[in-house]
Symmetry: C2
Subunit: 297 residues, 2 copies
């Protein structure tokens, strides 16, 4: 029964019988049969098919909702019983938006000190993907913006506020300034994240609000790629202050506060809104609540 519900969850995120089967580690006929058995046991069609996956029926959507809950509870149960016997152990899977990747360490390092047997998997994802994966129980927690997109059924712990800096060589134009305006920044050729990233949309919005068309020379979904370009002193970028600080500034590279306006956005930990949480997730939320005051400015 629970296996079948997992089939349904996989189908919801893959929207494709074959791929969903692969994710579940079974063959496509097995997954098809599993879904069909669910349908027979409920006496209702759950999936609209027409030689290909065409989404769920209304009943299917409801079952999906229950499946998330039941599968989540079953996992939490296993984890809790295991923790009772062997202490906190297992793997925490996180997804973080690229600009928050460098902050993950502030959570994982103290967590590991407390619970040395917990392993981590961290993905770099867009904020939309983070929420989708959270919804489908693909990940245990996410690090993303709390104050923009609607978050859905999650528990959120604010961690810090993202503020923006112009990263630019000291000898380049604007390189000697104490502050720059968004309008000035918009005139500099920039390296930014790709447009599917919310950080890019936020920054591009702030730049365009000045009435100037920004000049985006290079875009990537990798912060390392952006930084390695900026480090040469021949490119510039806009990035969150904490990230710039973490990446380290050379004497030729400056991170200049951008004003007018001094924009900021809240970044936080998001976990599925389940009560009770899995022990691993609960410990992560506890850790986040502990370190949040140390990060706020």
């Amino acid at each position: 029964m629970i296996d079948r519900l997992e089939f349904l969850l996989a189908l919801a995120r893959e929207k494709h019988f074959g791929r969903a089967a692969e994710v579940c580690g079974v063959t496509q006929p097995t997954l098809s049969a599993g879904v069909k058995q669910l349908e027979e046991s409920f006496g209702v069609l759950l999936v609209n098919r027409g030689s290909r996956f065409q989404g769920f029926t209304p009943e299917g959507d409801r079952v999906l909702e229950w499946a998330r809950r039941i599968v989540g509870d079953a996992r939490a149960m296993r984890q809790e019983v295991h923790s009772l016997k062997h202490g906190l152990a297992g793997r925490l899977t996180l997804s973080a938006i690229p600009t928050a990747l460098a902050m993950v360490e502030t959570l994982t390092t103290p967590y590991r000190a407390r619970h040395p047997n917990v392993q981590f998997t961290v993905y770099s994802r867009t904020s939309i993907e983070v929420l989708g994966e959270l919804e489908n129980l693909e990940i245990d927690a996410g690090l993303t913006y709390l104050d923009n997109e609607p978050l859905g059924r999650v528990t959120a712990v604010p961690l810090y506020r993202e503020r923006y800096r112009l990263l630019v060589a000291a000898d380049a134009p604007l390189g000697n300034r104490e502050t720059v305006t968004w309008a000035e920044s918009a005139r500099v050729p920039l390296c930014l994240l790709t447009p599917d990233m919310q950080n890019r949309r936020i920054i591009e919005h702030l730049l365009r609000d000045t009435g100037v068309d920004p000049n985006i020379m290079l875009e990537s979904d990798s912060m390392i790629l952006l930084y390695s370009h900026v480090r040469t002193g021949r490119w510039a970028s806009v990035m969150p202050a904490r990230l710039a600080a973490t990446l380290g500034l050379t004497d030729t590279l400056r991170a200049i506060p951008i004003v007018e306006p001094e924009a900021s956005h809240t970044i936080g930990l998001v976990v599925p809104a389940r009560e009770p949480m899995t022990p691993l997730t609960a410990a992560l939320v506890a850790e986040a609540r502990l370190i949040a005051p140390l990060l706020s400015d």
Copy 2:
């Protein structure tokens, strides 16, 4: 998996492998094997055994807690999907304390008018049993005292307050009075419920508080039995006002308010504290909220 968790729930309430198996419709070796498989899959012993059932281990208690939740959710899911297709249908199982049995009708009659395809099973139980059955998901809802024993993990809807009357023949001693005191009632030979019933304990307490040792001539767990005795005019009893009214008074039988003190206790609907509830249960709670104002005095 879910079947195994049901085994565990049955074992929790029967405290006996054989009987639990029977309840689940399998043989004893099957249930034994099921529990053992759960233990193996968790890597922890769940049940203390020594040639007979000796309760659960701490881990077993935790798994039991999760099992209640998961099994409850699985049932709710089935019911909800069925309701989406065929409207509210199925069977609602209730347990009520004997003095509340006559009030069940005020809930079931309007419920049935709204949802004609729902069937009912109603048990007469002690208040302790009601809460136990609720805990183990044996019943969908209960009618019992809300203000005495601790209720546990339930949602409660107050319905009415139980007030006490001396049921006595008009030509018997005290039969002509407008009110009687508890002290006076304690001197009349009475028919009451058996001492395992909370109503009996409440009334006996009120009687004894006067300093008089009550004279309880006959006891039974059946209100019908008590009433049929009192109807002869040769016996007396103490019972809730609403119950006396429902049973009907003859011209030779009177229900006299008992004062000093004018005691009362709240009776209400209790359902498992689950969010969301099963559709059948949710509709019952809605009905209870509707009729509660009509019953309060």
